[in-house]
């Protein structure tokens, strides 16, 4: 058995080096599971229809369950405060479904079973449960929903609407999710350029969102977030007002994840703050 120990022992030599050590950049990736998040009403609106929900369960030690992070972002819509109801209800239902139905019962087992649904299926079910709840309890309202379940370094993402999930790696943002918005469709159909879409008066019109239809298709993605890479969830109040280059600069220039989120919100507000703005930022820890 010694040889396998040697095999595994090699880990120490090959541990990935800190990703960014250039001057002016953020500190090396944290060794602990850490997350920053901010949601802000912005400069123009009088209430915040965004909802953010973060659950983290981390532990130290080589054996045992992987660190767990559940990041949920919802951006509600509908008059008379119905948007707030929809977004917070959706976020709570998703969190409830994922933790109660799937995570807690099986986290501590070390045997996985094909009779349990796949994690991507759990996420889809959770979002659909939120859809049913919003349709029932807040009819006429709607909300986007982007959520990421992080287990160890693997991110499982489910998404409807036009909030976004990005990976920041090697100094560039990569958008993981696709916007379910009318303008995005028009761009794909070649009827609008991205520049036209950015200023389009109907850019908030979604063709897929929670609370809009009893049939809801949910996109899923599975991504490994390597040590030092960031996962960013944000509402259109951020990506609609602050360009990607600026977002990268703010994240890499901040001294902490929480600080980065605060800087992002400040930048959106500096650009007019015309919408509610929410950012959730996680960085994959070392080893």
């Amino acid at each position: 058995m010694g040889f396998l120990r040697r095999l595994i022992g090699r880990e120490g030599d090959s541990a990935p080096a800190p990703v960014s050590s250039e001057a002016g950049k953020m500190l090396p990736a944290p060794s602990r599971f850490d997350v920053g998040w901010v949601t802000d009403v912005g400069k123009v609106r009088d209430h915040n229809e965004d909802a953010a929900l973060v659950i983290v369960a981390a532990h130290d030690g080589d054996e045992g369950p992987p660190s767990f992070g559940l990041f949920i972002l919802a951006d509600g819509m509908g008059g008379h405060r119905a948007g707030e109801v929809a977004s917070s209800l959706a976020a709570r239902v998703v969190a409830h479904h994922i933790t109660r139905q799937s995570y807690l019962p099986s986290l501590l087992d070390h045997e996985r079973d094909a009779s349990q649904p796949a994690l991507t299926e759990v996420l889809v079910d959770a979002v659909q449960a939120a859809n049913a709840a919003v349709s029932k309890e807040a009819p006429g309202s709607g909300t986007t929903l982007s959520c990421a379940l992080v287990l160890g370094t693997q991110a499982y993402i489910a998404h409807v609407g036009d909030s976004r999930a990005y990976v920041l790696k090697e100094g560039a943002l990569e958008q993981i999710t696709q916007d379910h918005s009318l303008v995005d469709r028009l761009v794909h159909a070649g009827q609008l350029t991205p520049a036209e879409a950015a200023v389009h008066p109907q850019k908030n019109v979604l063709y897929r969102a929670i609370g809009q239809s009893s049939v809801l298709e949910v996109d899923t993605h599975v991504r490994k977030i390597h040590a030092g890479e960031y996962l960013l969830l944000c509402s259109d109040g951020l990506w609609g007002l602050v360009n990607e280059g600026e977002i990268v600069k703010l994240i890499e220039g901040a001294s902490s994840l929480q600080g980065a989120c605060e800087d992002l919100v400040a930048a959106a507000n500096g650009a007019g703050g015309s919408d509610n703005v929410t950012a959730i930022l996680w960085r994959s820890p070392l080893g």
Binding site: M1, I8, R112, P117, A118, G152, Q154, L186, S214, K224
Partner: protein
Amino acid sequence: METRQIEASQPPPEKPVQGAPSASDQRRAQRSEPPAQGVHAVEGRLPEDHRLQDRYRVLSILAVGGMSAVYKAQDLRFSKVKRICAIKEMINSANDADVRAMILRNFERETNILATLNHPGIVQVYDCFTEGNRSYLVLEYVRGRDLEAVLTDKKGFFSEQKVVGWAIQICEVLSYLHRHEPRPIVFRDIKPSNIMLDEYGRIKLIDFGIAKMFQSGKKGTMIGTEGYSPPEQYQGIADPRVDIYALGATMHHLLSKRDPRLEPPFSFQRRPIHETNPSVSRELVGVVNKALEYDANDRFGSADEMQRTLMSLRSARDVRSTTGLGTSVTVSSEITPLWRFAFEDEVRSSPSVHQGTVYVGAYDHNLYALNAENGEFLWKYATDGGIASSPYVYEGIVFVGSADRVLYAVDARTGRIRWTCPTKGKVWSSPQAAFHHVFFGSDDRNLYAVNVEAGRIAWKFKADGRVRSSPQIGEEAIYVGCEAGLVYAIDTGGDVRWRFRARRGVTSSPAVTDEMTYVGSQDRYVYGLDVRSGWLAWRYRTDGPIISSPALGKGMVFIGSADKHLYALDAESGRLVWRYGTDGQVTSSPAVLDDAVYFGSVDGCVYSLEAKTGNLRWRFQTAGPVTSSPAVEDGVIYIGSSDRYLYALPA
């Protein structure tokens, strides 16, 4: 035979339920052009530049029907861009005020349902409103033409592939509609003129029969179009299988180019597609005929089922099943082997290539070494059982398992035995080696770790079932399946790091990256597991048990199934990218090289497909089932067949 049965039991009605339209009406319908102005005494159409709701500016008339018209219009609310939409106008001509009100209510109800539909294959409804006795639907403007216009202009016949590609897309939209909650939406009027082909070759359904609601009060009114509608629709039945029939009728029309509106109703079975177009495959004719069965119970039970059947056709091979975008041309050419080598028995084992030598085991009990360049015999080593396990070369030694329950370590150069490791079960598992140890499974349920030089067993891991899967060595653990359905990640010290339990045996060998482990099971699923924890990230169900082991490349997982297909799944989400149908089970494990994927099928062929699209590059026919998996080295594919040959093929 079928035709006779139908005629005997259910003669077509002598007179159509709806009065037979005049020939000129029909010809007009066929051309889908507006009739000359003034033929119908319809109230005035909206002039160019007319404003509706202070928001839509009429640009031109796109089409005019009896009581309806379609305009091209500009949405003025989008001030910075020129947004074009289509506006359908329907005139509420009922005299009775109550009937008028009912029509309006129906219109609003139906429109509201349509507005909630989200599918790229359905024209989007943006808005609806009523002005006086006219109701309007504002729709997505589709750049393209309807299939009727495409059909009219087409010289000769459409390719089978093209029609199958459209039909698969239509099935997808129909299953979306039929699965609608709380109750299924039945389209009720599938026909070429209601199917738009956009500029990218994608289909969109455009008319939900809403216009028909405005034609009530006439005797014999039926939603649907004579010629394409099934018998039960004349009784007012709107079951999802109505759409299956109409799709069958549409496919019949597209393939045979005979317009069903000019023929007696329900007479498809009496005018086989082959009468006008003999080039259509029998399989496709079978699908169309099944959709067109007189009795709804004899048709496909669902659009899903019809889609699956269509996708299994040879002509669907080049159709990208998820998007229906595949229009590329199949390149198929016969290739000639560089050499082949005859054995005394079947070659089920997969060859290995190492430093110019091909090593392969045969059912004649021998392990062979051949010159990779010309197939020249170098040496053979006799075991006491058939060899189905694949040899593995490591540090100058060839390792191979045999049905005689022994693992052999043979000198790679001379073929002389170095050592043997007896077990208590047959060895079907193919050995793997790393860190001076060779790993293999046995039917005695153990996974063995054996020292390479001395042949000494370092440890055994007792699995829950026979180990026929071949172990894969990852960064942090060894991954292997067993016939009891478990997949193990075996950690430092031979301990289990995690286990994953599938519903049936796992003979397939896992493929491992630094993120995921992929494996197939006889429970028909392909599983994507988190490599560190065994969490099930996604699963994909094929239609048959899986023995084949996955290969990775281009962000995809390639794997064969006993349902005769090779699958390409997106490694990140587990979604189907494409699948390719052969005529036999695919138990062979694919190999990926550059842009191509190679595998064998029980149909006797070796296939090479483009990895990205699943398009056929070439196919090579052997004289027996190919269960062996290809080895790829220096632009050459080495693969065995049950016809007792090992072939060297140019990649």
